[in-house]
Symmetry: C2
Subunit: 446 residues, 2 copies
Amino acid sequence: MTALERPDGTASGPHPTPAAGTRLDRWLGSYAERTHGMRASEIRALFAVANRPEVVSLAGGMPYLEGLPLDVLGDLAQRVVATRGTTALQYGSGQGDETLREQILDVMRLEGIEAHPDDVVVTTGSQQALDLVTRLFVDPGDVVVAEAPSYVGALGVFRAYQADVVHVPLDAEGLVPEALEATLADLARQGRRVKLLYTVPNFHNPAGVTLSAERRPRILEIAARYGVLVLEDNPYGLLGFDREPLPAMRSMSDEGVIYLGSFSKTFAPGYRVGWAVAPHAVREKLVLASESAILSPSNASQLAISAYLATCDWRGQVKAFRELYRERRDAMIGALAEHLPDASWTVPDGGFYTWVRLPDGLDAKAMLPRAVTARVAYVPGTAFYFDGQGADHMRLSFCFPTPERIREGVRRLAGVVSAESELVSLFGTGGQAVRGDVQSPGPDLA
Amino acid sequence: MTALERPDGTASGPHPTPAAGTRLDRWLGSYAERTHGMRASEIRALFAVANRPEVVSLAGGMPYLEGLPLDVLGDLAQRVVATRGTTALQYGSGQGDETLREQILDVMRLEGIEAHPDDVVVTTGSQQALDLVTRLFVDPGDVVVAEAPSYVGALGVFRAYQADVVHVPLDAEGLVPEALEATLADLARQGRRVKLLYTVPNFHNPAGVTLSAERRPRILEIAARYGVLVLEDNPYGLLGFDREPLPAMRSMSDEGVIYLGSFSKTFAPGYRVGWAVAPHAVREKLVLASESAILSPSNASQLAISAYLATCDWRGQVKAFRELYRERRDAMIGALAEHLPDASWTVPDGGFYTWVRLPDGLDAKAMLPRAVTARVAYVPGTAFYFDGQGADHMRLSFCFPTPERIREGVRRLAGVVSAESELVSLFGTGGQAVRGDVQSPGPDLA
């Protein structure tokens, strides 16, 4: 049975999303193997509701853009098109604009990475880099090792390429080296082919924890020993609240790591510009794969970002974001302590998310419709596992709503949790236990 | 042996591009099956030279952008970011901006397509739509039927998904229905699974021919009878020189066709905005696949194009492009008649390309280095076949150089052909015969 065939979530919910094909789909018999079982997440429909203004969404990973100097950015966009339009509006290099690739080196230098512009491949957001790396390495049935929990959008990519994801626990210091070693040893004994170790080392999505400096070389050493390529996904690394960034894993290993970076969280996602840094031979293939997928990334987007980096105080903007998100983190953690004393949570020192463990017996997925009715939304923990774990957790985002709205959201959530807890104490269950579902919940959850 | 393993081009050329992996690639053993054999086209390095200003490139499919009102477009870009920045710079819908999808309906109505905004999926250029459709439908070993010759970028996608492409001849009226029927019948007898019929009906790339109105319903009927989904790729449809567009195949079949459209040739490629129109169930899966690949298409790009469509005379701009490209077509055809009387060529009534058959005994791929030395570039015909045919043809583009440069380019080309022909008459060959190579030649060849 391939990963795509497992019956995730198919038994849950009163209004199941239409499955892979209905009798109305004339092409049902034509789909590729990888497409069978592809379906919209059941929480997707809920999020359409959750996006209404009266709902406090603690679900999305959307950065807060109102702090950006939109007038200045508008002028930059104008200048790029008016003065460099025959380049900005033309096809470009499949690898990406060379000036931008040089500027990306400056960004990465903040995390200790020394690289050459030739090592960088610009992509349509780092999500496309995830897709391309998986395309290059993963055959159906291959194993990708990932943290437990792990970024929902990465799990979706691995599933799309019919990988099998094996989770390794993390704790307050990130991925646990001993657990990684044990898992890789076990997989080796089983003769499984492990292709990638996928990790979000900084301000983890969804767990909010950071891989300690001490563990980084150990993780690299273990991966190297088992011949596993490390896929270091680092959209949040510059958004630490309390200290300078830790050295990226890529700064310690040129050949053992593919590093993914993004402007989506430190600047803005709407241009869809991310990048990969890969060992030379892999980088060549990444460019070919990207050309096959999209010909070339948008020159208009790349030149706009390049102009921003060249003429604006982007370091100051990142600092402003750090302060903004720290204030929101404080609002979130304060409200949790005040209103949800029976839950537990991680206290992130950067990024967008905290990972909340519900009081015993509560099921975050089953509870979600009631929460949305109470005008608050979150992402149930099951979204972040390949195998249906995580029902006792939820991801709360503090990136987008104001501190006041965050506090209001947590208050509403506490009301829902309290009502659910009462049900549990009366009947022993707060809702139907359901399996995980990592199919695409939509771009809101980036 | 899968498609990826066939030894295309491996025996040719004095300086072969480094193959899939060298001893330097530590990850050589980790690549997926689909990645083996992936390599840069041998003509790629030549094109780096061909892009020098002293070379007349008749190779690229880059539209001529100097006719665009760049000042106006700059102002639009400014307004989008300054006044709608929190949308333009944010994540968006995986399916694409709804207003733009409505405007796309207006564009498609010019070719007789009636659809609903829900039927449209906006992609990162129509190349991404090609990639996603192939991802949804093609298992390794499945057959895609395509014209002979066929768009190099589509062949690259089919190869990336390990499809086997079977070519069907075209003539002056496009794809030949009888040949299609015979091929599908033959494949059915062999028990092969044919998933897609890929066709560029208008101003074919590279052949320059258009599928006649009379043949369109016949092709659809044959495809439907064999249960084959038609993938109608139509970037050039509005760029006819002499008459109104023919009705799209999609206008005759809602359920049997996936239609691909693009702003790259009728407006500008640098925003990387294309789209697919698909039957309902397929469209749902396309959105999910696109979210997995890139989360969402660029809002900044979509809003810029939407503003252009809403406030500029885009129909007038298309008309201006038609006149510009007609003049260049005339320059190209006139120069061919004057300088290359021993060759033959198609006379396109729209689009960017003519397809030239060389005098007997000449090999376009073997001749290319000499042409580049003579400061003129083209794409050898082998790039447009899956199986190494086409060495006696070349694609000449008249979209980008001015008429004067086109004439100069053809003059230079005639000098090379003449010298080659002399060699052939003396020694019986003008160069080494080589196999085809449809791996990515880079985005210049779109």
